[in-house]
Amino acid sequence: MIIHQLSIFLENKSGRLTEVLEALGEENIRITALSVADTTEFGILRLIVSEPEKARELLKKQNFTVNLTEVISVMAPNEAKHYAKILRILSDLDISVEYTYAFSVGDKSIIILRCSNTEDAIKALKSHEMELLKASDLYKI
């Protein structure tokens, strides 16, 4: 249930994001989800890709600072109350969400969560019968 997300440190300079995507494109790596967190000077690019290990090596060779981060993914109807319920389950157990992002496929939301404790988060969401996605499920989307 643990998904390995690529986290890439980027300076806020034009062209850097393009370079990352071009590098991945050359090896036919597919991107399921993408999110950027930024400050005035730097940003962190977060990617769910088809072959995270391969993508990581590739980017490392091109001198990017890149790490694999453990995240989880939940599928739920794309109504706000479902997203809220997921967050409520976690906060009730004092599991903090460091960041989250989501996208819709049809009437479903695919929610990515980075939690302070990944294992506990998985257990909690499962016990509430939330639909957790495996990495292989995600890469197929």
């Binding site: 986290s7 440190f9 300076e11 400050t39 000077e41 962190i44 981060t69």
Partner: protein, 433 residues
């Protein structure tokens, strides 16, 4: 034009050489018998005090450097018992250890004397109000100007650095006629005065004595234009005494060195040979009267040349050109000395950061700015903005605490900063001198 000490400042060359030789003999004798460091260095060179009879014998003696001061931190090179020391000053050093200087009562009196000459050569006298906007404290700027100002009988305003609106208010209300600060702060003040809406006619400012950092002729013209004053260049370094080592007169054609107290030589920084008169090279000073911390052939690392012709002002004291640069990598930022190696040692203490850095020095609105670009270590990078931000903040705090300078830290991607191949480029100085 007034001259504070006509006897020495206008002495003929033979006379001054005689004074220098006599004072050198006394100094060498003092350090030989009172400072083990100098005695050992002289014995290694097979020299005793009897081998130094005239100023021409000076070249036989070994040099003293800033690292020598640091190795003998804090008081190892003092030539008198601590009971004779009445004042300590210090400047920042390379490994967190400052360079410490000690003054006896006579040294303070010498310092006041040379500062009185400095202020007099800038045209100041007992009727002036001197606003001392140099920092007071361990830095020698504030107290140096202060004692000189009192010695000539002027009204000294010890306002110290910073607090610009108060500077302007007192300048107007007290009628300051002389401003003493760094040239970059003078420009900053000039603009603040324009913005404040105070009319130039409401100010009595006539002259400025500026030093402690390098500045250009262009900057001088800008200051003179904007403040409508005469801008006088002064030179000094705390190791030698502080401000008062040399200063311009109103002719503004070089800085007169108080060579009856501080003997200058120009050397080739590579071969260490003394260069013929008029050549450009590294300035070296031997103190001739100092008691607390006498220095023999101290390498300043400042590059300049000496002018022995008589000046139009009537003074015969040798002049030095404005400093052209340095023979080492020391930077002077807002009057504070900074070696890139100091930055490096702070970085090395933090395992989260690679010791690859680039220091960018610039001058924005007439104030020096420092930006440090450092690479984020992959082992540390953990995908949280808050973590990277706190790392940046921690580094910024560590730098400020150990260097006494505010530095803007920017995190950059790895391998962006050029790797060292022999001599790497660690510093980009965009300021124009």
């Amino acid at each position: 034009m007034e001259i504070w000490n006509r006897h020495f400042e206008c002495m003929d060359r033979d006379g001054i050489r005689h004074v220098q030789s006599e004072r050198l003999r006394e100094t060498v004798e003092r350090v030989y018998f009172n400072v083990p460091y100098y005695r050992n260095r002289m014995q290694e060179a097979g020299l005793g005090p009897e081998n130094i009879q005239t100023i021409d014998d000076l070249a036989k003696l070994p040099f003293t450097t800033k690292p020598d001061l640091r190795d003998n931190y804090p008081f190892g090179l003092f030539a008198v018992p601590m009971s004779e020391i009445v004042r300590l000053h210090a400047s920042s050093g390379t490994t967190g250890k400052p360079t410490v200087v000690g003054y006896t009562r006579n040294d303070i009196s010498t310092w006041s004397e040379v500062m009185a000459r400095t202020l007099t050569s800038a045209g100041a006298n007992k009727n002036d109000f001197i606003q001392v906007a140099y920092g007071y404290g361990l830095f020698t700027g504030g107290l140096g100007l202060h004692y000189g100002g009192e010695k000539i009988g002027a009204s000294v305003i010890p306002i110290s650095g910073g607090n610009t609106s108060r500077q302007i208010q007192l300048m107007k209300d007290f009628g300051s006629t002389v401003l003493a600060c760094t040239p970059s702060y003078a420009l900053y003040l000039a603009e603040a005065i324009q913005e404040s809406g105070i009319k130039r006619d409401d100010l009595k400012l006539r002259v400025g004595v500026f030093g402690a950092e390098p500045w250009t002729e262009n900057m001088r013209r800008e200051i003179e234009d904007k403040l409508k004053i005469k801008a006088i260049d002064i030179y000094g370094l705390s190791e030698v005494i502080g401000p008062g080592v040399a200063s311009e007169c109103l002719v503004q054609e070089g800085l007169h060195i108080n060579e009856d107290h501080f003997y200058p030589e120009i050397i080739d920084p590579v071969t260490l040979k003394v260069l013929p008169a008029g050549s450009t090279g590294e300035l070296v000073f031997t103190t001739l009267t100092k008691e607390g911390l006498p220095l023999i052939r101290y390498r300043t690392r400042d590059l300049t040349r000496l002018i022995y012709d008589k000046c139009k002002c009537g003074r015969t004291m040798v002049r030095m050109d404005k400093c052209l640069g340095r023979s080492d990598d020391m930077l002077i930022i807002r009057g504070v000395n900074l070696f890139p190696s100091q930055v490096e040692s702070v970085l090395l203490e933090m395992s989260e950061i690679k010791p690859h850095y680039l220091l960018i020095v610039d001058r924005v609105n007439n104030l020096d700015t420092l930006e440090l670009k450092v690479e984020v270590d992959e082992a540390f990078f953990q995908d949280k903005i808050s973590q990277l931000e706190s790392l940046r903040q921690k580094l910024q705090n560590n730098l400020e605490n150990s260097l006494g300078l505010a530095i803007k830290v920017t995190l950059v991607e790895p391998k962006i900063i050029e790797r060292s191949e022999g001599k790497s480029k660690r510093v980009i100085d965009k300021r124009k001198f």
